[in-house]
Symmetry: C2
Subunit: 136 residues, 2 copies
């Protein structure tokens, strides 16, 4: 497995996070209201458990109802989240306002940080944490 | 806040996950060896705690040493992870082999699933879960 071949294997790779949640149907509506997310695909529409692919702007992500037997834990089940979503937008204040209006909780308001970002932090109703901002 | 304005606010948005880990320096080396990740940026190179932006193929993600006071938990601190990374590659078997050789643990080997994906699942040494595959 040479250096050139690892680069070949991963050169066209793409990556999307799949967030585990409780109340997947409700979460699907929340992400649409909070971030203008579009639902690109939903597996087995008639099933109760949600597995869905969404897009916010140019980026895709997935949400899935938790399945603790397979170690897919929602933040509510493990008392926290092991990652943050970095959401980059032209107008962080406006984006933040939509998320809050839809039911997100402010952890840090949008401010101009000395490391050169205009950024704030929210927790969504499912326990996931989003940083909303851009470089200035 | 009309439907058209929410679409305007988020139309150019982009999204990257930031994974919380323990042993950030070691994790930085692991993601390079396992997935051919390139380090695009590292904040404060001389500091012990890592905050770094990486790319695998066309996609970017971040890693950050955990900071439990600010509720940035590694999977090791909360006993699991609240999301999965979906990594899409042309050759899932080859990509899987690199991840395993670098120290990832097999949760499900790569198989052709009846929902139309060739996919497998690993856990990395920091407790994050990756699904590696593609549609067939």
């Amino acid at each position: 497995m040479s250096e050139s071949s690892i680069q070949t294997v991963f050169q066209d790779a793409s990556l999307s996070p799949m967030l585990s949640v409780r109340r997947g149907k409700e979460a699907l509506a929340f992400y649409q209201a909070a971030f203008g997310a579009k639902v690109l695909f939903r597996a087995g529409e008639t099933r109760d458990a949600v597995i869905a692919k969404l897009a916010i702007g140019k980026s895709e992500f997935w949400i899935s109802d938790e399945d603790t037997e397979h170690r897919n834990f929602s933040p509510e089940s493990i008392g926290g989240t092991s990652f943050r979503m970095i959401l980059i937008v032209n107008d962080p204040h406006a984006a933040f306002d939509y998320a809050i209006a839809a039911g997100a909780k402010v952890l840090c308001p949008v401010v101009d940080e000395d490391y050169g970002w205009r950024i704030g932090r929210i927790e969504d109703p499912y326990g996931h944490i989003w940083e909303i901002g851009r470089e200035i």
